[in-house]
Symmetry: C2
Subunit: 515 residues, 2 copies
């Protein structure tokens, strides 16, 4: 067995089932090992940002790491933006980067670069392999690091000679450490906050928005009547009938401060303290309004579900809370396509138990507000703010959950970053319906220019925020990647086409012409 095979067999033993890959020459032994060993499904991305984004989506939906296989520093560099988002989502990923043979590195061949320096900023664990004999154990350690709660990108840099040199058999999976429990004092303080303030709230993030943790949130809300707010860009939220209704913190700091100012005390659970996405002149970076008391029940790295359950018990919360009131399913919308009608179309026609990856940017800011009445669904968002995540993350979610429909709400600007994901959707026959918000501009930047006092930008500033001249034809781009596509320009047709494409197998794209 060569080193490459020992890596692949170790990965399989540790539960890795999928490899999102764009390999090169230095990864050929790993490609050969994936080829001859049963157990890992290779999924080709035509650009590395597709691979990292898909691994993120896969991890969010399964809780388990996929493997990525990328080529040297420059190939890996193309994946960094979406690994940045994966890092912010705390998604587990085994990120394997092939490298030059150890003895070749000193020759500074054209593709040589400082991979460690490039990979450190997105890696919660990183190691450069030194020999084939150690590769299996290094792999098991990397996978354990990736999967240790709450999850991280573990980067393993594997020189090509460590792939082709002989190795012993695979290594055994390592036992994962459970998450650290929160202290009794933190639970008691949280209970006190929720019971003493006039208008208390839970501020939720990370693991608090799904599964057993979210069930405890519902109990706590029933017991205390507290408000429920989640971070602006959560990795994953379970929504719909039977789940507690959680408001999303608005994006712009003035609106976020206003939203939190209605509360007297806030208990933070599984999230960071809310901060402004950007700093602005003479504005606070913290989004905690003056006078609002804050405590923290659990860091994202702690046992969030256990802490919420302990809090619910301490509050003597009912084990089966009454179902939160849920709006009726809305009728199909009519009129122009905008944030509201997109949300309404989704709420009206989405199938039970679908997944929504939302990178709608300005067209998605109010998705939460406008999807009242939608059936149960999983919501994924742009955790790290690095645009171009939507399409690949949807691809990975669809690989993870072949029995569920995936809807990708994608702003046009970000969609152009990683449109190659459309091709992978076709190759893998994935049930992904992509909705492109084609407003032909980086609208957020035009808003930001206005916020900076430039209400009438000149032609050069406009040229840097406009996607016109020429207009992008998304139907043709999709068809170029093998994806059936249509263009719609009113909400009624949008709802009809969304319903139709969701009823058909395989990927589809709907270009939404917006004002």
């Amino acid at each position: 067995m060569d080193g490459a095979e020992s890596l692949v067999r170790t990965a399989i033993a540790c539960g890795i089932k999928v490899c999102f890959a764009n390999p090169g020459t230095t990864e050929m032994p790993l490609v050969a090992a994936i080829d001859r060993v049963d157990g890992v499904r290779p999924v080709l991305g035509l650009f590395e940002g597709v691979c990292s984004g898909a691994a993120d989506g896969y991890a969010r939906m399964t809780g388990r790491p996929a493997m990525t296989l990328l080529h040297l520093g420059p190939g890996f560099a193309n994946s960094i933006a979406n690994f940045h988002n994966a890092r912010r989502a705390r998604s587990p990923v085994l990120n394997v980067i092939g490298d030059h043979a150890t003895w070749h590195a000193a020759f500074d061949a054209p593709l040589t670069s400082d991979i460690l320096s490039l990979a450190r900023p997105v890696s919660g664990w990183i190691r450069s392999v030194r020999s084939a004999e150690r590769l299996a154990e290094d792999t098991a350690e990397a996978i354990a690091a990736a999967g240790t709660y709450p999850g991280r990108v573990a980067t393993l840099i594997v020189p090509s000679n460590c792939q082709w040199d002989p190795a012993e058999g695979p290594a055994e999976p390592l036992t994962l450490q459970p998450p650290a429990p929160v202290s009794d004092e933190a639970v008691e303080l949280a209970a006190e906050f929720l019971q003493s303030g006039a208008r208390p709230a839970l501020f939720l993030g990370g693991p608090a928005l799904q599964g057993q943790a979210l069930a405890s949130v519902a109990r706590i809300a029933e017991a205390t009547g507290c408000g429920l707010v989640c971070e602006t860009f959560p990795a994953r939220v379970e929504r719909g009938p039977g789940r507690p209704a959680v408001a999303r913190l608005p994006y712009f700091p003035e609106q976020a401060l206003e939203a939190l100012f209605q509360f007297t005390s806030i208990v933070i659970v599984g999230a960071r303290k809310p901060v402004a996405f950007f700093g602005y002149p003479d504005k606070s970076s913290s989004l905690i309004p003056t006078g609002v008391k804050v405590t923290r029940l659990a860091e994202p790295e702690q046992d969030v579900a256990g802490a919420l359950e302990a809090l619910a018990s301490l509050l003597s919360a009912p084990l089966s809370p009454a179902a939160a009131p849920y709006p009726e399913r809305p009728p199909r919308p009519k009129g122009p396509i905008n944030s509201a009608t997109i949300g309404a179309a989704f709420a009206a026609v989405a199938p039970e138990n679908c997944i929504v990856m939302e990178e709608g940017a300005t067209s998605g800011f109010n998705f939460f507000v406008h999807t009242g009445g939608a059936p149960t669904h999983t919501y994924l968002s742009l955790t790290g703010g690095s645009i171009g995540q939507g399409l690949p993350c949807a691809t990975g979610a669809a690989i993870a959950c072949p029995e569920r429909k995936v809807i990708c709400l994608q702003a046009d600007g970000g969609g152009l970053y990683t449109l190659q994901a459309l091709w992978t959707n076709v190759r893998e026959s994935l049930d992904v319906v992509t909705l492109i918000c084609n407003n032909r501009r980086y609208r957020i930047l035009q808003i930001e220019l206005a916020r900076a006092g430039i209400t009438e930008p000149g032609p050069k500033a406009l040229s840097l925020t406009s996607l016109e001249n020429p207009e992008i034809d998304w139907v043709k781009l999709a068809q170029g990647m093998g994806t059936p596509a249509v263009r719609v320009d009113d909400a009624e047709v949008l709802a009809r086409e969304l319903a139709r494409t969701l009823s058909e197998p395989g990927p589809h794209l709907i270009e939404m012409r917006m004002e």
Copy 2:
């Protein structure tokens, strides 16, 4: 004046004329300054890899830096692959990355990351700005660093408050140091090598392949009868009648060793010692055959042109060498489209003084061989091996040289990395004809699998090296980006369409269906 304006005015004073940009919120004051100050042409790329690749192409054609304007760590990360190529080309670039306000950084907002760690591997100079007052001087230093011979990527990280805070006026350009001269001993030793060996050769790279340096090469070849070989991936070569015919070192190490083995002594000028692109089991990384004597006239960082002129003088080389014999212009080719007929079509119909950016991968390996008889042209190649450079580099070359036609020979695999450049070509009305080598595979990887002994790869290995299922429709992709496009599948039609599209203004794409 705010910091942003002081940066822009300093850049203009230092000769910066173009800014390849994909800005975000943290760069809005710089966008506003570019908008209100005359002198910098903003060119929007719909993905950051377009910006870095275009800045590289611009620098290769003008010898001067353009500015890039990119958004925080993740946005910048998307540009790294093509900055890697720019670094290998020693292209001068002023790379400006906006950052969070200095006081906002500690809040670890979603887009925060370690920009220095990401940018160092591709930056020959790097600085994080600390105040608006210093920004103008920092900018002047960065531009001087970028432009100091032979050129480098100079990265200036500019927090948003350093852009909007008040600043003094712009800074003056700094005086650039001239390149270090080579020693008399190096020149004498080179002359001895060329005069003593039975079959001597010059191995040329970097600045040796253009301008006065190349004219000296012609004189030296005439005086000594030495062979002329250039590095496999030169940044820029001037070719055609009146220029010395230079052979390109083959890509695969066996072929490269064979090519150099015909010489008894080699003088390296402006290049690194030739090394294999990748390490292979039991193969040497050095491409200098055993028994071949080697000396170095000039490092790429030294005064290559001065060294060659001194060598020509020492050899009493004729001031005006007889024109090297040049093959006749070939007829238009017929038959299937392959490496040979692509070269012949180019040689038959290319206009005088065009620019060729060649990222043809396996379809381009023999471009040099098959373009004998072409009129004078400039040849640019994939210096760093990081695919996806061709389209953006052609864009930058066309911005640099609006009076010249640009032909981009682009492999399909790499073309899919940065196809967004096609849109910029339309917006800027650039005379770029893109030839896509559509062989529907990463052919180099299939060759490398075979070289590794895997002559019959299984379905999983094939799936990772194939661009079929579904096939990419490049005509639709191009049209989606606003580019007129046709598909051709024989060489005669290729030559006709190449001639036609070269005779028309603006960008065109020709998808070449190849076996």
